[in-house]
């Protein structure tokens, strides 16, 4: 995992989510150890208003491992200010049952070593006809950064 200060924020966010998911899916390691490499012990995330602490985050690794999705995080834009990052992304997910694209609006706080301490995420599932097309770029923003797992 890269430290935040040395990395372009778009690359940092793409790498963070991709690497975390990749470690969960490519090993049978205790999920608590993997979660702890990417998050502080007092991690709190709000996903669409639902509070998720360390224990809930670990519990959420079970469906990820069971469904074994392939995913690609497309970061359209990201800005960093000190230890905080705001990003607009599209998460493309395909598992054994479905294929979907989820637009993600993310605000997060990270430690200097790259671990997440706070995360606020709002999402919306894109309609099928839009999920297959490239996400629309915003004038004046840099090119997208993509990573896949």
């Amino acid at each position: 995992m890269r430290p935040l200060n040395d990395t372009d924020p778009r690359q940092f966010i793409a790498d963070f989510f991709t690497s975390f998911t990749d470690e969960l899916l490519r090993s049978d390691e205790d999920p608590g150890l993997i979660v702890d490499r990417y998050h502080t012990p007092d991690i709190v995330q709000f996903a669409d208003g639902n509070r998720m602490d360390r224990d809930k985050l670990i519990a959420h690794t079970r469906p990820v491992r069971k469904n074994r999705p392939s995913s690609r995080m497309e970061v359209h834009e990201a800005v960093a200010n000190g230890d905080r990052i705001a990003a607009r992304c599209t998460l493309h997910v395909q598992d054994r049952k479905r294929s979907l694209a989820i637009e993600v609006y993310f605000f997060g706080q990270f430690m200097a070593d790259g671990r997440m301490r706070r995360g606020h995420t709002l999402t919306r599932t894109l309609p099928a006809d839009l999920s297959a097309a490239p996400a629309q770029s915003v004038p004046g923003t840099p090119e997208r950064q993509e990573a896949s797992a």
């Binding site: 996903a47 669409d48 639902n50 959420h60 690794t61 990820v64 995420t121």
Partner: protein
């Protein structure tokens, strides 16, 4: 109508709720499913008694774990 509430672990967001709902709604007799993501519960309304094993299978098919019947 019968209402049963189950404890389900691993749900984190509205997408999780949708996946669990989709599987439970396939069970014969189910008329409504209400998920409380933060509370970790799923309340199922049905027009007949549901077999716990069928509900467990549906929850696990979605990738989640039915930890206990919360109340009946």
């Amino acid at each position: 109508m019968r209402h049963s509430t189950y404890a389900v672990s691993g749900m984190a967001c509205g997408h999780c709720a949708g996946f669990v709902t989709e599987e439970i709604e396939r069970l014969a007799g189910v008329t409504a499913v209400v998920v409380d993501v933060e509370g970790g519960t799923v309340t199922v309304t049905s027009d007949r008694d549901l077999d716990m094993a069928d509900v467990r299978t549906a929850v696990e098919e979605a990738g989640y774990e039915l930890t206990a019947p919360h109340e009946s």
